[in-house]
Symmetry: C2
């Protein structure tokens, strides 16, 4: 079925049918706005201060030939990837995703079956994480397919984790391994969508971290972002970086496309060098130093090295 | 200045600098998510039931050559238009816009000056309506310029106006005039950005309307949408439709691109045939009938006519 045969309202009906209502969704798809109950009102009666919550909001957009390629990537994978990018942002704040808006820019040639596949990818993660799709926009896009998702979440005030809390002397920790997506190469890359939402939540609830970020743009860049926000520097211990099978160190440091967690902890809170958070191995890969030291690599013999320009150039 | 010379972080800094913080914005641009205080918590202590609020969320995307054309439209106008589309959606629910996320997909050839112009358009309305820009995404877009805005708002429970509340016997009312943008034509069209946020709010606070929608897709289509959502039909009185100077009836009925309000009222609440809401003239243009009658036009002699296929085809 071609999109032109279905028509705009046919498409809206197709999308609206997918909706599963949360108890706090007053109006979902079909009006000018979605209407949501304020998340915290559920809790405020019982225990006002303990359960005070913030609203989280983030947006991420994937564009054909920039963030994915057709027909290399399946529509299902593209849908999942768009969701993961947003879920990961909510998780990195210590929060839980609750609602999403999905905007798709559709080239004329696209078939309804492909759009359904895209939404099947989106829905699979919406269902797993109990995220309500409450709206969006469907537009024609000359040339490239565009998938843009805005996600809402909530986090208890006391569990909120920012990028900006790292202090000199803190240890830099990561979940999982790095370099896998970069090593697998463009053609052979499969969809590996794992978001560390459960692990992020555990870290937040333990209240052991001083800052956190997801690693979607690469490990080094994530450390740089924490340093920028916290006004500190960092030493990354090269030999402690968990490199994925088949990848080399540079791919682990600069590759990106993982959705792991990078976070900092007070030294006194660390129980052992290698441990686990939920299903993920946790590795300590460096320490926070003074801002004037910048962000540097340290090899096994203790020699400091500058970052590759790809990572360092961003640091300004 | 070319975009490539500025670099991604240069651009983020450019955008982040614009930010003016609301008192309920905990974290704006620069972390994984924006963090907002839940709007209703401000009010709940004093008067829980009276001031209970809902969160509103909407998104609208403009694509080059679909919703605007370059160089015909100025970047300032495009920025304003993207804001207006979203503000108008919040207004149509009876609400007030509070926060926005701005995602722009930039073709490589675009200059930094043009991007600044775009943001100047966005900021002008953000400032006027006290909307905080708390995040977004900046991506490269091969070919077409894309501007996508997600907007949050809030509305008191008792003022919420949906499309779905129209009842048989209600009168159909509109603000302003119709057909202007269609009549002015593609080439000569100037930016006429007026959002009826003040008038929408007055209608909501008077609690006189049973349903409301904005007229961005055309007057007839707006009536059809109210009818779809409310499971009713409508008669539109042709000779009562306020046609803009220089426009003909068909342009007023099907043209679109206005951001006026279309709403329904109980007959008993209407004081006079022609009156004002805020700065806008209010016109009564028809009445709600049973669903089985469909949506029809009625001429001055009382003769019923079918809608043009452009409007009617959508009604299924």
């Amino acid at each position: 079925v071609k999109l032109s045969q279905l028509g705009e309202f046919g498409l809206i009906d197709l999308i609206a049918k997918r909706e599963s209502k949360h108890s706090d969704t007053v109006v979902g798809i079909g009006d000018d706005c979605a209407v949501l109950k304020i998340p915290s009102t559920r809790y405020q009666v019982t225990n006002k201060l303990q359960k005070a919550k913030y609203l989280l909001i983030t947006t991420d957009t994937l564009v054909e030939n920039v963030h994915f390629k057709l027909p290399r990537d399946s529509f299902f994978d593209i849908g999942q990837k768009a969701m993961i990018a947003n879920i990961s942002d909510i998780a990195a704040m210590g929060g839980i995703p609750t609602h999403a808006l999905v905007t798709i820019g559709l080239p004329e040639k696209i078939t309804v079956e492909k759009i359904k596949e895209l939404y099947r990818g989106i829905d699979s993660l919406a269902k797993r994480h109990k995220i309500d799709i409450v709206g969006g926009d469907t537009i024609s896009s000359p040339g490239a397919l565009v998938v843009s998702i805005t996600m809402l979440g909530e986090v208890e005030k006391k569990y909120l984790l920012l990028r900006s809390g790292a202090k000199v002397g803190d240890l830099i920790c990561v979940t999982g391994e790095f370099g896998g997506p970069a090593a697998e190469g463009f053609e052979s890359r499969e969809s590996k969508v794992e978001s560390r939402i459960r692990e992020a939540r555990m870290i937040a609830k333990k209240q052991i971290a001083t800052s956190m970020i997801d690693s979607s743009d690469g490990l080094v860049r994530s450390v740089i972002e924490i340093c920028r926000a916290s006004k500190v520097g960092a030493k990354i211990w090269e030999d402690r970086v968990p490199v994925a099978r088949g990848a080399v160190l540079d791919q682990a440091l600069y590759g990106g496309e993982e959705y792991e967690l990078v976070f900092t902890m007070r030294k006194s809170k660390v129980e052992s060098r290698k441990s686990k958070v939920g299903n993920a191995k946790m590795h300590i890969i460096g320490e926070i130093v003074m801002a004037k030291c910048g962000v540097k690599l340290m090899d096994a013999r203790g020699k400091l090295k500058a970052l590759k320009s790809g990572g360092y150039e961003h640091f300004r």
